[in-house]
Assembly symmetry: C2
DNA sequence: GTGCGGGGAGACCGTTCTGTCTGCAGCTAG
DNA sequence: CTAGCTGCAGACAGAACGGTCTCCCCGCAC
């Protein structure tokens, strides 16, 4: 049982990524400097740049991890765990959102935030954010197809509008945004049945 | 007719504000430096700081102008001009959005962008953005009340979610976002009639 | 005329940013 | 033992940032 030790002491790379995740997701990219990440990770600067060629590469790695932790292991998992039928799973997204929006450390959707921060031009970071958002939509389309709804991809686009709108509203301070979106989602399902 | 001269040669302050508007609205706040605004306005640095005490104050002035030009003179005007009845005016917002989303220089909603850029803490700039967003919602509530809908303020929150969601979707590249939001809006009106 | 306020040109300051480099310490495999 | 990798510490470079300052010009009101 050698690999079941108390805590394998996270590697430097892991500590960097964890710090970047925490700081980037809460404060945005441009507002966070390399030095702050370095300090929080308790790592030398040379070490950081040994693992990530540049800040941009670190940002891309952060976005990948965000997809893993948020999209895959939170949104998708919560949706599938909270209901048995695909329609209920779609609606359950907003139940999870409702709890999320009420958390004191609510941080919003990093893909939206980063995409808007890189709105102009087609920087790799902006493109990556758009791609991660499309991956969310793919999950929605899958659920829609499983539910037997018409035009799953079109439906997913509309559903995603509800998700994004409610997240922005929550960032604005509207704690009931998830419930509002869920109600509109219910009506949307009706029209695609 | 002394004040009807060809063009009264915009003052330095006006040129600064115009440059800031163009640059901030398209590229965000942190991505734009004072020097770039100064250069585009063809103004000396001392002149800029004579009119605006700091970059933050310039940002606040930009947000005020954005409300004037975008909220008041575009959204509200277009909504009221495109339909006679308040329900139609609500829906007409998305007709205006539809044209907006298809413009090559589509810049998104500055209030959302700036708010998310200042997500953490309660910086005056973040607070101002939230306030400008609330002013949009006040207009929505007015239209809802004129239309005789139930709970105009609650309705306005939901309607605003559709607007914000579609704007983010458009920034992501979804040119049909306005039409999707309009369809969901139609259903929402039904439930608040 | 004279004073004064708006404006222009640009040097300058301190800070912060990303990114590089040197030097040293430890661990581990051969 | 030693070579090589990982990592720490921190100086350093070069650019960009926000913001201040001085000096000069010009137009206008008194």
């Amino acid at each position: 049982m050698a690999e079941a030790l108390p805590l394998p002491a996270p590697s430097a790379r892991e500590r960097i990524l964890e710090s970047a995740y925490e700081l980037f997701s809460h404060r945005g990219i441009r507002a966070v400097g390399i030095d702050e990440i370095r300090e929080r990770a308790d790592v030398a600067k040379a070490t950081l740049y040994r693992h990530f060629a540049s800040k941009d590469e670190l940002v891309l790695a952060f976005l990948d991890r965000r997809e893993q932790l948020w999209t895959r292991e939170w949104v998708e998992r919560e949706a599938r765990a909270r209901a048995l039928d695909p329609e209920g799973q779609l609606l359950a997204i907003f139940d999870a959102f409702d709890e999320w929006f009420r958390r004191a450390d609510f941080e919003g959707c990093s893909f939206i935030n980063v995409m808007l921060e890189w709105a102009d031009g087609d920087h790799p970071i902006g493109r990556a954010s758009v791609l991660h958002l499309a991956n969310i939509r793919a999950f929605l389309a899958t659920l829609a197809a499983e539910a037997g709804l018409r035009e799953p991809e079109t439906f997913a686009h509309s559903w995603h509008i509800l998700m994004k709108g409610s997240i922005v509203a929550a960032a604005e301070g509207d704690a009931e945004a998830a419930q509002r979106a869920k109600a509109m989602g219910g009506a949307l399902i009706e029209t695609y049945r």
